[in-house]
Amino acid sequence: MSWNFQQIQVDVQNDADNVASSHELEAFRIKYLGKKGLIPKIYASMGILSKEERPLVGKNANDLRNHISQILEGKKQEIKQKEKLSTREDLDVTIPGARANLGHRHILTQTIESICQIFVQMGFVIQEGPEIETEFNNFEALNIPIDHPSRDAFDTFYLETPDPQQKERYLLLRSQTSPGQIRTMQQYDPPFAVVIPGKVYRPDAVDASHSFMFHQIEGLYVARDVKMSDLKGLLTVFCKKFFGNDIKMRFRPHFFPFTEPSAEVDISCYICGGKGCSVCGRKGWLEIMGCGMVHPCVFEAVNYPKGKYTGLAFGLGVERIAMLKHGIHDIRIFYENDNRFLNQF
């Protein structure tokens, strides 16, 4: 029996080309390599061949078997890939993903947090105090006498609840976070540096820029030898970190009963860059906080030894800063808590 290897090669190739599925591939394998397949047949036929023919046929058969094995392997991969593709659905990859609800901190909380963090990095510790306060902590200890015109700026809600410590006095809603200074000083000896964030209340009629409830952050640093230049330095670092390195600042003398000297800090309006616009009232400057050196009367009120310590203090309105920073024009929106507002931050 003689084998036309050339023809077989052609047949193998044709058969291989027709294989399209793993099922057909198996049939192809059985036809050539199966127990009763062609290759075993060729090997079986070799016994009757002459000595001369045998090696030649053997070599051809081996080559053929290797060739078929290669085809099988190649086809197997090819079909696997094809089948993988055909069994999967083609997604529209652009359909929006199924998002879980994402909650947001209120922008005021976020603002308080980022302001406090800057001071924490500089060594300040965050403290908190109650909103319901005594007249002593909110006024007297802060060198704000009763019936003084400076109290106008701190118009106050009084509660019907009597002050348990002072007869004929009533508790009030703190009109500033400054009573937190008094509480800190009553409790601790210097040196310390604290920031005190919280809610404050003033009976202001509500409009786009006034709210009877708002938030302030108070800062207080007391030690020996705290200087006015430290106040300028600290607040400059803060403003640059919070508002950006490019802003200009100025310290303008002002009056607060509990600091002397006192100042207000202005930053260059970053809507108009200082040229003057409606946001800054054509001034080119935005007033962002009050500050000063702690008044000796305040130290006296908390019974610190006379002349032993000096300190600096500052206070800022959170809503105002958040409004400036985020371009919010109406303070009321913070308390409306519209979902669409909350989701923006």
Binding site: A100, N101, L102, G103, H104, H106, L108, T109, G123, F124, V125, I126, Q127, E128, P130, I132, D147, P149, S150, D152, F157, Y158, L159, E160, T161, L171, L173, Y188, P191, F192, V194, D204, F212, M213, Y221, A223, K227, M228, S229, D230, K232, G233, L234, T236, R250, F251, P253, H254, F255, E260, P261, A263, P296, Y335, E336, N337, D338, N339, L342, N343
Partner: protein, 682 residues
């Protein structure tokens, strides 16, 4: 406070452009808020802080300007004149209310027009002309800061002046044609019969100077700032005069202002001064306390290196007298109109505000570690807030004030909020004793604005009779999350709220085994949909579905909303231990489910507690987790029963459990349940 630049130029040489002057005043603490052109003049509107009554007049601001621009200050010469020593009939009944009263009687004045120059000054500052006498009193007020008042002398009953408190029910028609009712808290100037002026605030109509006036009585006085302030507030009437009196006028000006006005009256309205006298205890010459300070102290306070000459020049320009024995020590006498100067820091401020704060050095201190520890609540609160955000809730901040009607509508009338004495409006009359009304209000706002799916939390305070208490409020309503793959949107229910709370506790490392949920009887929740949250035998909060009627009463167009309120102070006090690592199991666990029919009065909580308890006593294995996986109510089960399925994981620390052993243990457990809790295995 308005100032005219032309007028200012009468006393100082303003040698810089208007813009520079404005900027320099601002940076010296006299903030220019507005610049206006009026006629040929420029008018600045200044914000004068309450400590600087001396700047509420042209002379004071001219003095400041001279210091700021370092130019000379030329006030008008006001020569003391020897007037007839005859006394006016003046009595002061309230010596504390009126320290001193100078009355001057001028006869035969010619009431007429005010000269153009003076009129231009008054007009620039927004005053209109009345007649020459009244205009002169206004001019002197603006110039010197001393409020004056001229009476038509012939209309003063008995020709006398009595400074006294008003009697109850007394009335006066003031020059603005308003009848005002007075009371004993208000100081008045009266004649023999009736009040003719509200002291320091406004004169009376009946005795005002008119075209027919012949003789006048000119008043220059010092009234108690507090009294004037109270009267002004009580009457709701603030005038140029009251504004200055309540901030404190210069005591020396009482006399000087009177002399200045009389000089102008004689010049412009002729007449003759018949009598002039001072009644009261006022010392018109008075020295304020001297302040001792050294240059070193000044420099130390500001961290700068100023020199003696500079400090001295500034202080002198501002009217202080400065003595220094050496180049370091100053003995400083503040001028009488600077009662705000009381100590060293005040002196420092005077010097540096003229130099300009911006011209001072700047240092960044390295702050020594405070011996104050961080308020631990902050970290804990933050953890809770982050967790709730991660569960998809938005943080809200609501007004902490509510009203009684809201409290009633929220069926929480039994709670007592702290009432406010002077509420802004009745809507905000008390500090809230609960978070529910606040959260319902914002739910309504959101729904009205088309925001239908609301998942909110607030970390706020409630205000109880003795304390303010930090409290967590959660409000959920609408669809849980919108997922386009869901066939039906998942509407929020009680278990969503409970799951959120449990997750929050887990994240807080609060041992859930110490928390239990028990049926509550709070009226604002729907019956059968409400629970108390108990931590270690103490009720720390509630959760449930809000009663539909409450939603209706709050104007919320919605039938389902869920609310929880948790006392955070107690949660904060809960000691969370440092988390101790539990080695991961070496051997696999085996799962067995248990399906029960349970009478409705037996809770899943009770079954799970029981199983957990028994699980501890198993031989050679333990129950490492237990999940609730199914609740069934329907036709396949008795009416008074629910079907519950729990999935238990059995595990051993020592070996891989054999199936038979687990099955055996599980079977025993099931039998025990049947026996003890009368459940039926399904």
């Amino acid at each position: 406070m308005k100032i005219s630049i032309k007028w200012l130029n009468d006393y100082v040489d303003v040698n810089v452009p208007i813009e520079t002057l404005s900027q320099r005043l601002t940076m010296a603490g006299l903030e220019v808020e507005k610049i206006e052109k009026v006629g040929g003049d420029t008018v600045f509107e200044l914000e004068i802080t309450p400590n600087r009554p001396d700047c509420l007049n042209m002379l004071g601001l001219a003095r400041e300007t001279s210091a700021i621009l370092n130019v000379s200050f030329n006030p008008p010469k006001i020569n003391p004149v020897a007037y007839p020593k005859k006394k006016c009939d003046i009595t002061i009944d309230d010596n504390e209310g009126c320290l001193g009263y100078i009355g001057a009687l001028v006869e035969n004045v010619n009431i007429g027009k005010t000269p153009k120059d003076m009129l231009a000054r008054l007009n620039a500052l927004g005053l209109r002309s009345i007649n020459n006498i009244v205009d002169i009193t206004n001019f002197v007020l603006l110039e010197t800061g001393q409020p004056l008042h001229a009476f038509d002398y012939d209309k003063l009953a008995g020709g006398k002046i009595v400074v006294r408190r008003a009697s109850k029910g007394e009335k006066i028609v003031t020059i603005d044609d308003v009848e005002r009712e007075l009371d004993p808290s208000i100081l008045v100037i009266a004649d023999a019969e009736r009040p003719v002026a509200i002291a320091g605030v406004m004169g009376g109509k009946e005795t005002e100077v008119t075209a027919s006036t012949k003789n006048i009585l000119l008043e220059s006085a010092y009234f108690d700032p507090i009294l004037i302030r109270r009267a002004s507030r009580k009457l709701g009437l603030s005038t140029d005069s009251s504004y200055r009196f309540e901030r404190g006028v210069d005591k020396e000006m009482v006399d000087t202002g009177s002399v200045r006005a009389l000089g102008l009256i004689l010049e412009l309205a002729q007449g003759a001064v018949l009598a002039r006298s001072m009644t009261g205890a006022l010392k018109t010459k008075k020295s304020l306390k001297k302040i001792l300070i050294s240059l070193d102290e000044i420099n130390h306070h500001i961290g700068a290196k100023l020199n003696t000459a500079k400090c001295r020049t500034i202080l002198k320009k501002l009217g202080f007298s400065v003595q220094s024995d050496d180049r370091n020590h100053f003995k400083i006498q503040p001028p009488p109109f600077r009662e705000d100067i009381k100590g060293k820091p005040d002196i420092v401020e005077e010097i540096i505000r003229i130099i300009g704060y911006d011209n001072l050095p700047l240092t960044v201190p390295s702050i020594i570690m405070s011996n104050i520890s961080v308020d631990p609540r902050r970290g804990k609160r933050d953890k809770i807030a982050r967790n709730l955000c991660s569960q998809g809730l938005n943080e809200v901040i609501t007004y902490t004030m509510i009203n009684q009607a809201e409290l009633d509508r929220a069926r929480q009338h039994h709670l007592a909020g702290q009432k406010i004495q002077n509420p802004l409006t009745q809507d905000y009359e008390m500090m809230r004793p609960t978070l529910l009304p606040s959260l319902l209000s914002i739910l309504r706002n959101n729904i009205n604005k088309g925001q239908k799916n609301v998942q909110f939390f607030e970390l706020g305070k409630i205000y109880l009779p003795k304390k303010e208490q930090e409290t967590l409020g959660i409000l959920l309503s609408g669809i849980k999350s919108i997922d386009w793959r869901d066939e039906k949107p998942q509407v929020i229910d009680y278990y969503d709220l409970k799951g959120i709370i449990e997750n929050m506790f887990l994240d807080y490392h609060l041992d859930l085994k110490e928390v239990s949920f028990e049926i509550s009887d709070e009226e604002y929740f729907c019956v059968g949909q409400r629970a108390n949250i108990i931590l270690k035998n103490k009720r720390i909060g509630v959760l449930g579905q809000i009663d539909e009627d409450i939603l209706t009463d709050f104007g919320i167009k919605r039938t389902q909303a869920f609310f929880a309120q948790i006392d955070l102070e107690t949660v904060y006090r809960y000691k969370t231990e440092c988390v101790h690592f539990i080695p991961l199991p070496e051997y696999p666990s085996v799962q067995r489910d248990i399906s029960l029919a349970v009478k409705k009065d037996l809770s899943a909580g009770k079954i799970m507690r029981t199983l957990r308890e028994w699980g501890k006593t198993l031989d050679g294995m333990e129950i490492v987790s237990m999940r609730f996986i199914e609740k069934y109510e329907g036709e396949k089960i008795a009416n008074d029963c629910r079907g519950y399925v729990f999935s238990l994981q059995y595990q051993s620390k020592k070996q891989t459990l054999r199936d038979d052993d687990v099955s055996c243990a599980h079977k025993k457990l099931c039998e025990k349940l049947v026996e003890h809790l009368s459940v039926i295995i399904r």
